[in-house]
């Protein structure tokens, strides 16, 4: 692994223990670290809240497709900035636009093409990435797609913080105003429709929230790994709580722990931040589920194929 931090900054990063991570956070010369932490903590709120809906409504696959389509917008924005001279077209605006378009298209597909939903999701997923990569290939100068796919905290500045803060407030505000409606949509859409709820409209709105949320962490964990923080904290939280709102709080806290822990570890051992955060979350997730499965098996006697099949079925039903 190359010197992830040290090669790009001239700051001395050969820290020897974690306390230096906390000191570094206060260091005015390495602002990006503090910025990353602020963005990570803010975004965790939206990730915990929206992620809970994603998990209970089983739309992880659609959320993944939306996230990948974001690359098309980032590519288009960078191309416009450098080839066309549209300086105002920040990559995050491109990401936002692409995410919303993808959410809308995927929403329509899943509402109206029930039988072939998974195929359409896969196709849009690939189309979005292909568009993004072609734009990046034609963009003058070198752009590393890795920065956007897997995150690069070094490109975080003041502008990114304000965009993230605004989006975060927007997402949380919409959820607060519609908490019950989204809950009804996820729990029993047919009944919600019978009670006069416009199920299609709220489903599309929920997917738009997913789109906004994914964009929040595009610099920290990247679009490919964002899905880990959207689904894993909520999935773990779902095992621990009894109510949806509790699930949201616990998921947000877990997300914060993963972001801070991953950032600290990546700093301490000089590793790329996005993958470290995602892998940390993944390890905790695996451990929690192994423990839960063993406990259940212990209660029922020796593990049977039934238990394993039930677990797999519950986990893999994406949409």
């Amino acid at each position: 692994m190359s010197r992830w931090f040290a090669t790009i900054t001239d700051v001395r990063l050969r820290s020897t223990d974690m306390t230096e991570f906390w000191q570094a956070l206060g260091d005015p010369d390495i602002r990006f670290l503090r910025y990353t932490l602020i963005i990570g903590l803010m975004a965790s709120l939206a990730f915990g809240v929206v992620g809970s809906y994603v998990v209970v409504h089983r739309i992880t696959a659609i959320a993944g497709a939306i996230a990948h389509c974001v690359l098309a917008g980032i590519g288009a924005a960078l191309y416009s900035q450098r080839a066309l001279g549209w300086e105002w077209f920040h990559p995050m605006f491109g990401a936002l636009a692409a995410a919303l378009v993808a959410a809308y298209l995927l929403g329509l597909v899943s509402l109206h093409a029930k039988e072939r939903e998974d195929t359409a999701i896969g196709a849009l997923w690939a189309i979005g990435m292909a568009i993004g990569l072609l734009f990046l290939a034609r963009t003058p100068g070198y752009v590393d797609p890795m920065s956007y796919l897997f995150g690069n905290i070094l490109i975080i500045g003041d502008r990114e913080i304000w965009i993230v803060a605004a989006l975060d407030v927007l997402v949380l505000g919409v959820v607060f105003a519609n908490y019950r409606r989204f809950q009804a949509l996820c729990f029993d859409p047919e009944f919600a429709r019978l009670r006069g709820l416009s199920v299609e409209r709220y489903y599309l709105l929920l997917l738009c929230l997913v789109a906004l949320t994914v964009v929040l962490l595009v610099h920290v964990v990247g679009i490919v790994l964002a899905i880990a923080l959207l689904s894993i904290p909520a999935a773990i939280a779902g095992r621990l709580v009894r109510h949806l709102w509790q699930m949201m709080i616990v998921a947000a806290l877990l997300c914060m722990v993963f972001v801070v822990g991953g950032l600290g570890v990546s700093y301490r051992w000089d590793l790329p931040t996005g993958p470290t955060i995602a892998l940390g979350a993944g390890i905790v997730y695996t451990v929690v589920f192994v423990i839960a499965a063993r406990r259940r098996a212990g209660r029922r006697g020796p593990p049977t194929q039934d238990v394993a099949a039930g677990e797999a079925g519950a986990g893999s039903r994406g949409a």
Partner: protein
Amino acid sequence: MDAQAAIAIDDLWFSYDRAPVLEAVTLRVDPRDSVCVVGPNGGGKTTLLKLILGLLEPDRGRVRVLGEPPIRARGRVGYVPQHMHFDPLFPISVLDVVLMGRIEQGGILRERRLRPAAMEALEEVGMAGRLRSVFSELSGGERQRVLIARALFGEPEILLLDEPTAMVDLAVESRLMRTLKGLHERMAIVLVSHDLGFVSKLVNSVICVNRRVAVHPTSEISGRMIEEMYGSDVAMVRHDHRCAVEEHRHD
């Protein structure tokens, strides 16, 4: 006439693809009536229910619910879906499920005012003590009662229940029936069921659905009719796909 009927269906035809699922259906359910819809799987029971709820549009014919097109009457209809259709991992409390019954009046801030009515609905089905419980941790019969409370919370004039007794044991069944008996003074009840045996005590007429529809007052349900519908053994109230139109001459 139609304005007075809870449900009035006139020469209705419906198909998903080509083959008709329902043919020339005409029936009428009066207010305060209790009817049971029976028929083999795939015979069109669920389709009929969805047409009454306005979730499907008929190819031909007309459905009127409380004198209105089904979609406009939805707010006055209480729907109780099958309890096994729910995600067992969904974290939601009994009270939250019941509050869904008036989702259209939504808003977290207005919720406090709705709570007493939600509690009343839970009391009516004998589940007031469990309002903080998690829905998925309840037994099948308890879940069914909570779903009934959710429908009652919307103050319906018609109650539609889809297979309320599927997967619940006999004691639970009779408990459910007592709950429904208390309600049929106030509203029309339409019950979809496999088991005619025990619902016949509750309902006034039986609607047999198997592509075509035949309606029988309960008084007409003789041993012979049940025999024809269910095979020879009346004690075994399993439906056995013999609910064909040809076998509905009971006069």
